[in-house]
Amino acid sequence: MSSANAAHSVVEPSLASKRVAGAIVILYALITLVPLVWIFLTSIKSPPDSISYPPKIVFAPSLEGYCNLLTTRTRQTPEYIASLPAPTGTCDEVTRKRNMVIAGPSNFLPRFVNSLVIAFGSTFLAVFLGTLAAYGFSRFRVPLADDLLFFILSTRMMPPIAVAIPIYLMYRELGLSDTALGMILLYTAVNVSLAVWLLKGFIDEIPREYEEAAMIDGYTRLQAFRKVVLPQATTGIAATAIFCLIFAWNEYAFAALLTSGSAQTAPPFIPTIIGEGGQDWPAVAAGTTIFLIPILVFTILLRKQLLRGITFGAVRK
């Protein structure tokens, strides 16, 4: 903290101090960005370029990583390619034209679809159940409300591996192991705590007089909830949904322990992408890039709500 920043006006720091602060923060931000930029650059390198030393900053871009990531073809040798019928997909065509080596069939697309299904499914359920419960806690006298809310929060303190053992056994009994439904239910349970806490904060801010007026006009409690409270809470519900989505999208521990095949999501899959002689880094980087893009978009959309979401609504801006 530079004590040279003695602000002449209390509320407004001096121009010099602003400039120094700006320079340091921008430098930090740029350093922060380096690994992310490097992921993207690696994704458009050819495999030899990706592992050359010193690291190449200037290189001929290649789509090989993306092709390897998305291909459904088995590994191809030049002789084999010559014997093949005409290419059937764009990806194949590019590959063929450029004489790329294809590492083999990749499961990335189905894993990515699993991520989409599980993340959106659990988000929808968590927000639905969370909205109802949040309204319940916000508007009614619930016996032991504090204890219940604290209980809901404390479910998040458990290390995922600790609950994974009995959930693994339970799912084995119920036939939910390695199914999308099982993962959706699990992520919903994890997310519902966040959803209740966040949404309760948002609903608390809607004046209850609105509903009272509606009920005096002849609405039932449920109608008032649907026609008065829900529209008012839209922003809060949307923000909560994105937070749930981000969690389910990024989750690794449960996914790695409880899924292995058909319901596996992208986070445990991406590190397993293997090419010729070790990890196929351009393909890994391509998968990582595709996987990160939705999150980048959401981060920018959410920046005003971010603080609330990451602290369970305990801190408000």
Binding site: N5, A6, A7, V10, A21, V25, Y28, A29, T32, L33, Y53, L129, Y135, R139, F140, R141, V142, D146, L148, L149, F150, S154, R156, M158, P159, I161, A162, V163, A164, I165, P166, I167, Y168, M170, L185, A189, D204, R208, E211, M215, T220, R221, L222, N250, A253, A256, P267, A285, F291, I295, F298, T299, R303, L306, I310, T311, F312, A314, V315, K317
Partner: protein, 321 residues
Amino acid sequence: MNISNSIVEQAADATARSTPVSVARRVRGLSDSAIAWVFIAPAITLLLAINIFPLIWAIYLSFTNYRANRPNAAVEGVGLRNYERVLTDPDIWQAMQTTAHFVFWTIILQTVIGFTLAYLIDRKFRGHAFWTTIILIPMMLSPAVVGNFWRFLYEPQIGLFAYAVSWLSGIPTSDIRMLGDVSLAPWAIIIVDTWMWTPYVMLICLAGLRSIPDYIYEAAEVDRASAWRQFWSITVPMALPFIMLAVLFRGIENFKMFDMVTLLTGGGPGSVTEVASITLKRAAFESWATGRASAFAIILFVAVFGLANIYVKALNKVKQR
């Protein structure tokens, strides 16, 4: 008031405010208590089924010799033997120590850097909103995916990190084996965790700094307090509850640290980065010692829960000052 005294108290406040609505009694439809039940029950039921039921099952298993890879073998109660074995296992104590080491250093680094950044951003230089958003990106990403990619950055022969450090310091890259060197591997993880989560601490600190009303500084200015003095007797104490909240959340999260370590080092080299979650995973899913793993899980949960509760009490005290 911007921050709740504690999470629990916030809940209490809200309940105190919610006076029963007399209007509701006069309108048609379900009674209020029935509606409250209908609204809350589904969420609670789901939590009971997928959180509490497994927890109770884990408690039961912790007293047995059950092994998940032999579902048909007879299950015997073993009393407290699992707990005894966990608490006397030097490997587990080692893992707890490693975990504590990570929690300590990540919190120190993230708090110092995060608070400094927040303090600088609070100068509101031109474009601060844009750069703040940029800084926030890492914490929104998946730790596993990010950890996997950092493994590439750390590669001594081809990685950007080794190259950059070697270029800056002149040490040959073959000596910068971040993930293979016993003394460097823990720091490799601390660096990635700090890269990822400093923005989190920064964001909470920023909220803390923005909650300090201007008139306090104006009064200090009238009293001719130096900038240094203002910083230590206004800025830091007023932002402290926020900093403590950030430390609480990061502490709980890093106590559970699993994904990033798994992807970066898998606990190695040897077992120098083997944190509690990894030991637990090995016991449960590699040795299949389900009973012992459950006992360890319960001990961990009680430890986090207990520490968090003590900490929240301290936080409330700071808040009330």
